[in-house]
């Protein structure tokens, strides 16, 4: 998807008339669509993620659930979250694939003070550039989904890249490729929103989930990872915030108040400098007496003598 027009057909041999589909452009925004209703919790996506990103096999944490570990880690970007929930007196086992949501308005990027440590591509992927990361951790508090994770060894922060390296070559992310049930989809944002909507409608009309809907939170301009949920009114049951928000202070503070603060400091330096060269020092008193008035400026004195 680096250049969506690369494989656009330009000419066709021995074809009469115009080239069909000439000049069409695909939308560049990509999206991962996760249908939690058909996820079986097999964790193939977790393994695929670890494999593709060449992460070391790490210890799991058993906490009386089927979850591999309590939360995603700096080298474990893809985690199925298991929630045991109740619906109409029956147990409901909710499985949600947790990873970076690649927000349209990314809180991590808003919060990051380091030049070039977080970038967002035209296709919507939000990527960390660790060579520019200063490890301050602002992104961690900027993220409404608790995704960026700190590596104690490198002192930098890591997260899911939506396999930007694969997507750049026209491939789907590794998790999508591994999914055996087809609950994971990858394509353009508009296509994914459409099939997610269709699936939600099917759940509402056919499967008896009257509140089924698509999770694509508008409070952050939508995300490039969307879900269909059995009940869109209570995303908290899946561990998703209902109205993810980015602290507005990040934007205003970083781009308004911080530069003004520095400017004031700079003006303060100039002020004391010019105070010194104009008003001068406060010397211990009595200081040496000033030169007597008539000898003050010899040139001026001579000029006065002349008629």
């Amino acid at each position: 998807m680096s250049n969506p027009q690369t494989f656009q057909i330009q000419e066709i041999s021995a074809h009469p008339g115009p080239v069909p589909g000439a000049g069409t452009r695909r939308e560049e925004e990509v999206c991962k669509y996760i249908d939690v209703t058909t996820c079986i919790g097999c964790k193939a996506c977790e393994v695929a993620c670890v494999e593709w990103n060449d992460h070391p096999f790490r210890e799991t944490t058993f906490d009386d659930t089927y979850q591999t570990m309590p939360s995603t880690e700096w080298n474990y970007w893809n985690l199925i979250k298991f929630a045991e929930d109740e619906r109409d007196g029956n147990l409901m086992w909710l499985m949600r694939k947790d990873q970076c949501m690649h927000c349209e308005d990314p809180g991590c990027l808003r919060a990051c003070p380091a030049d070039g440590a977080i970038i967002k591509y035209e296709n919507g992927i939000v990527d960390f550039q660790q060579e520019n990361c200063i490890g301050c951790g602002y992104c961690i508090s900027g993220c409404p989904f608790d995704i960026p994770k700190f590596n104690e060894k490198t002192k930098k922060v890591y997260k899911c890249t939506l396999c930007s390296d694969r997507v750049g070559q026209g491939l789907e992310p590794a998790c999508i490729k591994a999914c055996p049930t087809g609950c994971l989809h990858f394509g353009t944002k508009s296509d994914m929103v459409q099939i997610a909507g269709l699936r939600a409608k099917q759940l509402r009309d056919v499967s008896g989930f009257a509140n089924a809907g698509v999770y694509d939170p508008s409070s952050i301009g939508g995300t490039h990872v969307i879900y269909t949920l059995h009940d869109i009114n209570t995303p908290e049951r899946y561990g998703l915030p209902k109205h993810p928000l980015i602290p507005p202070s990040y934007t205003y503070w970083k781009w308004t108040a911080k530069p003004i603060g520095l400017l004031m400091a700079g003006l303060g330096l100039l002020a004391v400098f010019f105070h010194r060269v104009s008003v001068g020092p406060r010397l211990p008193q009595p200081e040496d007496p000033p030169v007597v008035e008539e000898n003050r400026d010899p040139v001026e004195g001579k000029r006065k003598e002349q008629p």
Partner: protein, 262 residues
């Protein structure tokens, strides 16, 4: 402050004077004992380190060139809180040491009203009520107390952000920066006043002494307290003696000129 703090301060000053020395020459007064000086420079060094590393985190696009001093971006981030802890810890002792003379009085309120005359040098000699510290110095001291507390609270919240909500952390960043900007403003004025604007002041923080002239010019009430002499009278006397010296030199020069001509 309680008597135990006073006892602690006195003991610390005595111990510091055992390994350090302050020589008071003729015409000089002891202003800062060894303990105060050492504390001041410990606070100053740790503050400057925290400030420089803080700048590299505050806006890396502008101060990225500072981070190599601390081992690169992440290294800066790792060291910064420790500089801050050192600053707060050293300043805590300076707080105990200076708490008493930094108490705000009505004389300081009047000093503040004269701020404009002070900056424009309307009066070259401070009014007689100005004591060991003037109103501006006291404001800076209490500003450091406030900022130091804010640094500590918000700094710990950011340092251990695993245990607090992301909104608290987000507010902490802003408050931490505000405290730093406030202190930076005071710091710029402090360095200017301590060096270039008031000659003899840096000397007092390095050697511990000031000239009597410096004392009655900038802190007359303190001059009276340590010498028992009236600062105004001492100033007038010095002024007369200086005029006499000038006259003596002038007459000597006239004699010399006459001798050379003959």
């Amino acid at each position: 402050m309680s008597a135990s703090v006073d006892r602690f301060d006195e003991r610390a000053r005595r111990e510091a004077d055992r390994f350090g020395e302050t020589t008071v020459h003729r015409g000089e007064l002891l202003r800062h004992p060894v303990y105060t000086r050492v504390l001041h420079w410990l606070v100053a060094i740790s503050f400057v380190l925290a400030l420089l590393s803080g700048f590299a985190i505050y806006s890396p696009w502008l101060f990225r060139w500072l981070s190599p001093l601390f081992g690169g971006g992440p290294g800066t981030r790792v060291l910064h809180p420790w500089f801050g802890v050192a600053f707060d810890a050293f300043f805590f002792f300076q707080f105990l040491n200076w708490f008493a003379p930094m108490a705000w009085t009505s004389a300081d309120r009047r000093w503040l009203k004269r701020l404009k005359q002070y900056t424009t040098h309307t009066n070259r000699v401070e009014p007689e009520e100005v004591g060991f510290f003037n109103g501006g110095q006291k404001i800076y001291f209490w500003l450091i107390v406030l900022s130091g507390l804010l640094f500590l609270i918000t700094g710990l919240l950011m340092w251990f952000d695993d245990f607090v909500g992301r909104w608290i952390v987000a507010v902490s960043y802003v408050v931490h920066d505000l405290a730093a900007l406030l202190m930076l403003a005071g710091f710029i004025i402090h360095i200017y006043e301590g060096t270039s604007h008031q000659p003899g002041t840096l000397h007092s923080m390095i050697n511990g002494t000031v000239t009597e002239k410096w004392a009655w010019t900038h802190h007359p009430a303190w001059y009276r307290a340590v010498t028992g002499r009236d600062p105004q009278e001492a100033y007038e006397l010095e002024k007369r003696r200086q005029a006499e010296r000038e006259r003596a030199i002038a007459s000597w020069e006239r004699e010399q000129n006459a001798r050379e001509e003959s």
